[in-house]
């Protein structure tokens, strides 16, 4: 992400008057953004990243104003990708003013962020949001005193109730450059003085001192070799002076000042009643009640996404709407207009781009991602998501992940392809690889799960436990081994637990809508490309070749009938097709053969769309390594099951 192109990247003209909304995570920026801009908004990924940025327009008096909502940031010295984007927008769009949104009950943290923004000499206004919660917790803020201290306009708001928001909107024009600075150690202060012209502002110079590596691109864009040398010299001098980390020293100074402001203008009346709200908050985290609540939420989430979304709605859309009405119509249309040839096979043949690919995207993926994001946005708005992650942390740590992985894993039971996209929320490369592998290896998506359950129903009931036991033990074993073998680290788990709130439905629906649109746009081409590749494989005979090539292995090592190899290749197109293929030939197989086949197909390759997502997200090399591991491993495990059972004949 090139800093200089921030305006261009966000589609903003050079002469537009731009206000940037900045704030710590979860302070209510999105709600403020909505009330400032009204309906119109444009959500996009920041170029080169997966981070959402919203842009909107508004009119203040007669002046047109562009407003940008940035991702929540604790600090401008970036630790996360979100914070990087926020910093780049601040540096790159050269905003006319910054609107900082603060959580009134957590003013100290907001002050730390404010002190960093203040160094950029950009006019600011401060929005003290969540005044209702501050009041409920008996936090008292001397707003007039604070105004004077900071030298900027301050507006108290309660965003969801639109209290104070119109005053805030009118006040944007009154933004002023804040007049407040932390007391840095003298040597650092001198260094800032020397560097501020080189970097354009004190703030940028500070970002460089605190994390020079993070500012590489900026320096490369803006400085010649001579200037770079000066900067390096100043830095070298500081490294000699201080034994501690510079970013630590800078943060300490900022913190001290924030503390100072906080204690001067914020007071809290000591006695706080234990409210019902607080009790409910505690219940969700207490081990005795929190764990049952956790499993309850996971269960409901799965019921909603995996059952209602992925089965009820999908069956209706795919089976009836597309199966009985749309697809027959389109098939007729295509065949009657161009006849049976290469093109019509690609479009509406057995694996046609339209009859399979588009149907798949709209009838299958759309309901799954819609139900998922509806549930997710609701849980997010209520404030339960961080609690969900916290409760799952201990378990996931054992396999080299942390609590944040809970959502991708649960979502995997809905759709692995989609879930693989969401492994982006994981902090480190190592975690993303482990998560992706787990999803691809042993988490059956709901479509496949449905067929697997149908197969299980034809077998003695204890086969279900044998199957589940084998698959889950292999899954955990692989993840655990990967966490030991792969280099790199697991990300730290530190997460803020916001108070639980009553959901605001318009906020939930808006977020759901933008997310569905974004993910849908990303996924659809992959599904279409996937079916296209399969069609080409079919026409060129590659598919038949693969089926033939797989046969000996299927017959000798797995001890299955030769036709089973078709099911495995079909599973590559769509995981549930593979399982359905097994169901078709189940009459010709013994119970043990069915078990072996089901184990193999559960562990066997992810579907083609999932594979494309893995390539897209992890890169071709890692993707090949993951697939190259899974295919032999699935056959290995299933083969071992086959041979063990034969060895101890009649065991089952």
């Amino acid at each position: 992400m090139k800093i200089r192109y921030a305006r261009e990247a966000l589609g903003i003209e050079e002469d537009e008057d731009v206000s940037v909304l900045i704030g710590n995570p979860n302070v209510g920026k999105s709600v403020i953004f909505s009330s400032l801009t009204g309906k119109y908004r444009d959500v996009s990924n920041y170029p080169g990243t997966t981070v959402e940025v919203s842009k909107g327009k508004t009119k203040i008096g007669t002046k047109r104003e562009t407003i940008i909502d940035t991702p929540g940031a604790e600090s401008l010295t970036p630790v996360s990708e979100d914070e990087k984007v926020t910093r780049d927008i601040l540096l790159g769009t050269e905003p006319n003013q910054v609107i900082q949104v603060a959580d009134a009950k957590n003013l100290k943290r907001s002050m730390m962020l404010l002190l960093q923004i203040a160094e950029f000499d950009i006019p600011m206004v401060l929005d003290l949001n969540m005044m209702d919660e501050a009041k409920a917790r008996l936090v008292d803020i001397d707003i007039d005193g604070l105004k004077e201290e900071l030298n900027i306009p301050i507006f108290p708001t309660v965003a969801p109730e639109r209290r104070g928001t119109s005053a805030l909107k009118r006040g944007i024009n009154k933004a002023r450059v804040p007049d407040i600075k932390p007391d840095y150690p003298d040597e650092i202060e001198d260094a800032i003085d020397e560097l501020k012209d080189l970097f354009g502002s004190r703030g940028t110079a500070l970002l460089f001192l605190a994390a020079p590596n993070e500012m590489k691109e900026f320096i490369e864009e803006k400085m010649g070799s001579e200037e770079r040398e000066i900067a390096e010299d100043v830095l070298g001098r500081l490294y000699k002076t201080f034994s501690q980390d510079l970013s630590y020293l800078i943060t300490l100074s900022i913190r001290e000042k924030a503390e100072n402001i906080f204690s001067k203008f914020v007071s809290k009346k000591e006695i706080e009643r234990t409210t019902l709200k607080k009790k409910i908050n505690d219940l969700t985290m207490d081990p005795w009640t929190g764990i049952p609540i956790f499993f309850g939420v996971i269960f409901l989430l799965y019921q909603f996404v995996g059952y209602i979304g992925a089965q009820v709605i999908v069956d209706f859309l795919e089976g009836i709407i597309f199966g009985e009405y749309i697809n027959p119509y389109i098939e007729d249309l295509v065949y009657s207009s161009i006849g049976e040839n290469f093109v019509s096979t690609i479009l509406v043949g057995e694996y046609g781009v339209i009859t399979v690919g588009v149907t798949w995207a709209i009838a299958l993926i759309l309901p799954i991602i819609t139900t998922f994001f509806l549930a997710f946005s609701l849980l997010e708005d209520v404030g339960y998501i961080p609690r969900l992650a916290a409760m799952a942390d201990r378990g996931l740590r054992k396999v080299g992940l942390n609590g944040k992985a809970v959502l991708p894993m649960v979502l995997g039971f809905g759709c692995d392809t989609m879930a693989t996209l969401t492994t982006r929320v994981l902090d480190t490369k190592k975690e993303r690889i482990i998560g992706t592998t787990m999803l691809a290896l042993g988490i059956p998506c709901s479509a496949q799960l449905g067929v697997l359950f149908a197969i299980m129903a034809t077998l003695p009931f204890y086969f279900f436990f044998v199957w589940a036991g084998i698959v889950s033990s292999q899954l955990l074993f692989v993840a655990w081994s990967a966490s030991k073998i792969l280099p790199g680290k697991r990300g730290d788990f530190i997460i803020e637990l916001p108070p639980l709130r009553v959901p605001k439905w318009d906020n939930v629906l808006k977020k759901t809508y933008y997310r569905v649109v974004m993910f849908f746009k990303e996924l659809v081409p992959l599904f279409i490309l996937g079916t296209f590749l399969i069609s080409v494989g079919k026409i060129t005979g590659v598919l038949d070749f693969l089926i033939k090539a797989l046969e000996p292995l299927v017959v000798t090592w797995l001890g299955l009938p030769a036709e089973a190899s078709i099911a495995f290749i079909l599973g590559f197109l769509r995981r549930d097709f593979g399982a359905a293929g097994l169901l078709d030939i189940s009459v010709r197989m013994t119970n043990v053969q069915m078990l072996v086949a089901v184990v193999a197909i559960t562990l066997f390759v992810p579907c083609v769309a999932n594979m494309l997502v893995i390539i897209k997200e992890r890169g071709i090399k890692t993707a090949m390594a993951i697939i190259g591991f899974i295919i032999p491993f699935a056959f290995f495990v299933a083969g071992i099951v086959n041979h063990l059972i034969n060895l101890f004949g009649g065991l089952l």
């Binding site: 957590n106 943290r109 730390m112 913190r255 985290m285 081990p287 530190i494």
Partner: protein
């Protein structure tokens, strides 16, 4: 080098007898082995205990202990007298407190502290020992899990004005404390903690330990994994 037995060696002999008694041993053979075993990491002055000298040195040390009324020898058994116990207790206390100090504050490994602690124990006077004890929050065990003999400061522990420093993991649920320092070399982690206002001087309340640690700072509730909490040391407030 003279064969004179120094005070330092007497101290160490007492320390050995104390640890042996903790293990339930009193025999002369174990004592001799420990006293003359270079591998245990004891300092320079043991180097001269070469083969032939071992028995001789043991005899000499025991003779001095007996003469000073610190230990009694009966057949193959050696027993600390009450006076000897008192003296040994002080030395063991210093040694184990020194170990705690080095492990908790100086980030040294448990395995690496034996030798320096040994040097340290001869340098501390009672006052310094008690201050260290208080600073560490009157710890009950050394890093190896052996009990630390109590000092004067420990019994008056609750009344001391100086706040005690303990790992945040040792705080009771519901208690508040002020962060003394964060012990990590991981800069991104430190930075992240600081931006949540978790840093020296911040007041935190431990809300729960299971299934995850939850702490409260200001009006923020944070869930953190144990690995991070273990890096945080606090002064208890009351």
């Amino acid at each position: 080098m003279s064969d004179e037995i120094t005070q330092i060696e007497v101290d160490e002999a007492l320390e050995i007898l104390w640890t042996l008694e903790e293990e339930g041993k009193r025999d002369r053979e174990s004592f001799k082995k420990k006293l003359t075993n270079k591998e245990e990491g004891f300092s320079e002055h043991r180097r001269r205990f070469r083969h032939g000298y071992r028995e001789k040195v043991t005899q000499r040390v025991l003779a001095i202990l007996k003469k000073r009324g610190l230990a009694e020898v009966e057949d193959t058994d050696i027993k600390l007298t009450n006076k000897g116990k008192g003296a040994a207790r002080v030395i063991v206390r210093r040694h184990r407190l020194a170990e705690r100090l080095m492990v908790d504050f100086l980030d040294m490994g448990k395995e690496d502290v034996e030798r320096p602690a040994c040097e340290f124990e001869h340098l501390l006077d009672e006052e310094v020992t008690d201050s260290i004890c208080t600073l560490l929050g009157h710890p009950k065990e050394c890093p190896h899990g052996m009990p630390i003999p109590k000092g004067k400061c420990c019994s008056s522990g609750k009344k001391t004005i100086e706040p005690a420093i303990i790992p945040l993991t040792d705080l009771q649920v519901g208690e508040s404390a002020e962060i003394a320092y964060i012990h990590t070399k991981d800069h991104p982690r430190l930075h992240k903690l600081l931006s949540y206002d978790i840093g020296p001087g911040s007041e935190v309340q431990l809300h729960q330990k299971k299934p995850v640690y939850v702490i409260k700072t200001g009006e923020t509730d944070l869930a953190l994994e144990e690995e991070i909490i273990e890096d945080i040391y606090v002064k208890t407030l009351d």
